[in-house]
Amino acid sequence: MTPSRSFRIARAVLLLVFAAYFFVPLLAMFDFSTQVRGSAPGRTWDNWTFMFRDEDLRSSIVASLLLALLTVVLMIALLVPTMVWVRLRVPRAKKLIEFLCLLPLTIPALVIVVGIGNVYSWVTYLLGDSALVLTFAYVVLVLPYSFRAIDASLSAIDATTLSEAARSLGAGWFTVVVRVIMPNISGGILGAAFISVALVLGEYVFASLLRFDTLPVAMAALYKSNGPAAMAAALASMLLVSALLVGLTFLSRDRHRRNPGASS
């Protein structure tokens, strides 16, 4: 049934209204970030270069990026062997693992922080005061999303046959996981890594309440002294995250196209 003319016009108008609601704040942020300080007329890119010049902000960016990297590495090192092992040897535990992995999604992050606060005073006591110790909390935080990505691609391959074939050719469990299973689920792992980076770069609750200087915390602090520069940094981080997430949707579309029969 083809839509009528009046419906099309109404649709176009409504879509424009929604587009305005979603894009005006972003444009406003861009406009604000190119303003000269103190509302003087004129445009400047100073605020955009500020994030490379300012010592505090730069160190927080480095900390956030390192944190993202460590979280991804630890997440993969924990999740992939566990999930492969559960799928091959103890299928009964699958429900339990799934429940545990999805739990952080239902509990508000704030509540986790309140509970984890005491644990962290010990962690910082043992491992030092660097922001990188947040990795442990972030791995828990990204579990639900990465679990789903990896689980989807793991159920698309025949892990049992692959591992039995590798085992009968004399491969150890390490070789099976790293050299046989992992290349086969690289799409899912990449997707999990993308969404983890996106989440870690935007995470504010843990970092601010446990008093670590990551990028969002530094931005919020910077906003009070130099608004436009904070806006520029916020917009830059947002663009990076959107690029990652859009890349993720294209990645998953490619995967679906390659094996259309797979149910994920």
Binding site: P3, L15, F18, A28, F32, L110, A220, L235
Partner: protein, 253 residues
């Protein structure tokens, strides 16, 4: 969570739960519930409209795929950046504020409503609507055109098609999404933490005050109690959600 039942010396007590009935806690809980319910309702209705508009576009159109991909991004988009974006838009020197005052001479900023509960409603909708779109778009796609053709063949008008076919089919999905949005708004913290610097209109901010306060010591356990309260609310919502899901899956074979 044991901390909710302990006092300063670690002895067991129910005293912290008394703090939940204090005026500040009750008003914060009320604020949180109002905020979550209103943004869930607004986000669900507007998101459903947008989802329908998007799904009515041709399946291969760039606009449709682009909107769905963008919704995926924006639904994740909360936190500090979102607060900044809205301050730049309708804050004291935001571009929309200035535009309105130039064109109509009206003062959109008013007395700073952006930084209170009404402002949070507007801002939260920014991530609630896209979330609704990605949750509900598959339900709209599941409405087969054949059903509509069958209804029209049997003499149904557009209105009676919606009234008797489409809306009953979509209701479970809509209600489920509504609960999801409610839980999402209830748990959100970062945006509110940056926007609101005075007062504690919602529970998450009250928790922040309880565990970071340097003025009143010994509040940490009250924070635990408040966190427990949040868990209770979220659990209720999630149980309702899974019950609803079970009911729906019975019909969606």
């Amino acid at each position: 969570m044991l901390g909710a039942f302990q006092d300063e010396d670690g002895a067991l007590t129910l005293g912290n739960l008394d703090a939940l009935t204090s005026e500040a806690a009750v008003s914060a809980l009320k604020g949180s519930l109002i905020l979550s319910a209103s943004t869930a309702l607004l986000g669900a209705v507007l998101g459903a409209v947008l989802a329908y508009l998007v799904v009515s576009l041709p399946p291969r159109s760039l606009l449709r795929r682009g909107t769905l991909a963008l919704s995926g991004v924006l639904a994740q988009f909360g936190g500090v950046v979102l607060a900044f974006a809205w301050i730049a838009t309708i804050g004291q020197v935001g571009i929309v504020t200035q535009l309105v005052s130039d064109l109509f001479g009206a003062d959109l900023y008013g007395s700073g409503w952006l930084f209170g509960l009404p402002g949070l409603v507007v801002v939260y909708c920014y991530f609630q609507i896209p979330l609704m779109v990605i949750v509900l778009a598959p339900a709209f796609e599941g409405l087969r055109p054949q059903w509509r053709e069958a209804a029209v063949n049997l003499g149904a008008s557009t209105w009676s098609y919606w009234r008797h076919v489409a809306i009953p089919l979509l209701t479970p999905a809509f209600l489920g999404a509504l609960l999801l949005l409610f839980a999402n708004a209830f748990a959100a913290y970062a945006t509110a933490a940056v926007l609101v610097s005075q007062g504690q209109p919602i529970v998450p901010l009250l928790i922040r005050q309880a565990i970071t306060s340097e003025v009143i010591l010994g509040q940490a356990n009250v924070g635990f109690a408040l966190a427990l309260e949040m868990i209770v609310v979220v659990t209720v919502v999630m149980v309702a959600y899974s019950l609803l899901l079970r009911r729906t899956s019975r019909w969606m074979r």
